[in-house]
Symmetry: C2
Subunit: 341 residues, 2 copies
């Protein structure tokens, strides 16, 4: 991942642990109003947000499981490792604040590789207002692992769980569905030619998902939604989980799904059924949002406030317990989501 001969092609071992910590410290100068003790002691000490609850989440990216360095850069990996956690905090209606970065680094990496990873992480931290509080570095005898824990804040009684939906609530999804899955499939197919603009957007979405952190925080603050979940394991999984936690069924209209044209074409070519492939595909990191009829105007106001986030109504939660996809007037079971095991 580095140019031979460049100073950053040096092996990690030449830097030592202290040198690595210095690399990190120079990139993350924390605002002093949040961190009382930053990187370099036994633990970090941070001021909590007054009157707020803590939101806690952790998510790891493992080489060979969640990413392949043939298809993305180390900068993408650093960016995405934080983005997927920001998405989880947003899905609770919270605001991301403090991250812990745990790096498990194979000795084959060069100094420049780790710098790229840190730069990607820093880019996402800047976009989402996250301060790096601390972390851990160790060697890996196997894959590269980037494990991030994130602490956010949410006001009491403004927590947005998966389980608050009611029958009749409209179901919305942000952004596009199936784009990341199509982008990954396109990369895996090993094309020599560069992608057209539509596929390039899918590939970009796979490499650098855009967590909906502003919209999530606004949904929490305004109580414009009854339930929310992110699409880390696919739209179908999110619909199933929200319906189950809310004690409802769900009815999703296939014709309304915001599947980009490039993704639709590609997924139809590879799998035969583009809609099923799109709703099963993971890695979109969009939000699934349930909105009661009486909160619809509040929701629309929030969407206007979160400028630039496209939102599509794709169906509703139902009293009937089934979770179905409606196509050509016929209801079929929604496919199961991505299984980690």
């Amino acid at each position: 991942m580095t140019t031979p001969g460049s100073t950053t092609a040096r092996p990690l071992a030449s830097l030592g642990e202290r040198g690595l910590i210095t690399l990190i410290r120079t990139r993350f100068s924390a605002p002093s109003d949040v961190l009382v003790v930053g990187i370099g002691d036994d633990a970090a000490v941070a001021r909590p947000e007054r009157g707020a609850l803590d939101v806690l989440t952790t998510d790891a990216l493992v080489e060979g499981v969640h990413f392949d360095l043939a298809f993305c850069s180390l900068s993408d990996v650093g960016y995405k490792a934080l983005a997927v956690n920001v998405s989880d905090v947003a899905a609770m209606g919270g605001t991301a604040r403090l991250a812990l970065l745990s790096l498990i680094l194979p000795a084959r990496l060069a100094v420049g590789d780790v710098e790229a990873l840190l730069d990607g992480f820093a880019a996402m931290a800047g976009q989402s207002g996250v301060t790096l509080a601390g972390g851990n570095i160790t060697t890996s005898p196997g894959p590269l692992v980037v494990d991030v824990s994130l602490v956010g804040a949410v006001r009491p009684r403004k927590v947005l769980t998966r389980g608050g939906g009611r029958a009749g609530d409209a179901v919305y999804v942000t952004g596009a569905v199936g784009a990341a899955a199509a982008g990954l499939e396109w990369l895996r197919a090993g094309h020599a030619a560069p992608p057209d603009a539509g596929m390039a957007a899918c590939v970009a979405r796979y490499r650098r998902p855009e967590p909906r952190h502003r919209l999530g925080a606004l949904l929490g603050r305004t109580r414009a939604a009854s339930a929310c979940m992110d699409l880390s394991d696919g739209l179908a999984d999110a619909v199933l989980q929200v319906a189950q936690a809310s004690g409802t069924g769900a009815r999703i209209d296939a014709t309304r799904l915001p599947i980009p044209e490039a993704a639709r074409e590609w997924l139809a070519g590879g799998h035969g059924d583009a809609v099923r492939a799109a709703v099963r595909g993971g890695d979109d990191y969009e939000l699934l949002v349930a909105v009661p009829a009486r909160r619809r105007r509040a929701f629309e106001a929030v969407v206007r406030q979160a400028r630039g986030v496209p939102v599509t109504c794709i169906g509703e939660l139902t009293a009937a317990p089934d979770v179905v996809l409606v196509r050509d007037g016929r209801a079929e079971p929604l496919p199961q989501g991505f299984a980690h095991f």
Copy 2:
């Protein structure tokens, strides 16, 4: 690690992700006064301790780097993965509260292996008063990784950093030095015979370190210490770091070091110099504490309160910038600690 034919010898894949989450949920029923939202949503939501600052730390155990399943059980790994984080929070004068458990699991593990790991983690959580708030599970194409993040609480102005020491402060260490290193070396040497009682204690210390969480929290609360650090990377490393952060030197008296007799004999046999091996040896998870003369009685009162924690004065911080080990009346440089890279 499991009996063939037992129900827990089933491969992990047979359980599925949901089954795994159920395994975890049944072991960790959280007290409702801390967790507003527990395991099973996009993120956990917790009530912070009123008037306290957050203490944040993360530490990973990687198979082949930090442990070898030939020398410890999966239960030991689960226990230790939390213990090393509890030790970090204690070293800041804080109280551990909420953990996030990130499991990166090779497919070769059986259900019973994961159950053992969770049981070990739960045992440490019970001892240290930690609630499991959430976590993440994924497959590993390589080693088992157990990565824990821990959130604790500390009162403002009661934070115990590495950098508060002054020349003249006495330097204390809890428990024993070099025990874990001797225990690990003994295991690596592959003995057929069981260890004698002294070595058995060293092996136990290596497998299940005892973080000094009560003493750490008391040191913070009472401000009986000026600086503190845990011995994760060895006594020598801790002395060097505390001295550097405090802008002092240090003088450690070799004859006062609490090296257990069994460790001394074993380390002398293997390395020639038992004292140097003991001060360089990691994995003890004791606390190094600097105590100003005027706080000595307060410190002694705290030690009495933290019943059963042995404490030894091993030297002092000095105005002279060198960090030295005094043996037979002669000062020599303190060896460097364990290097991760």
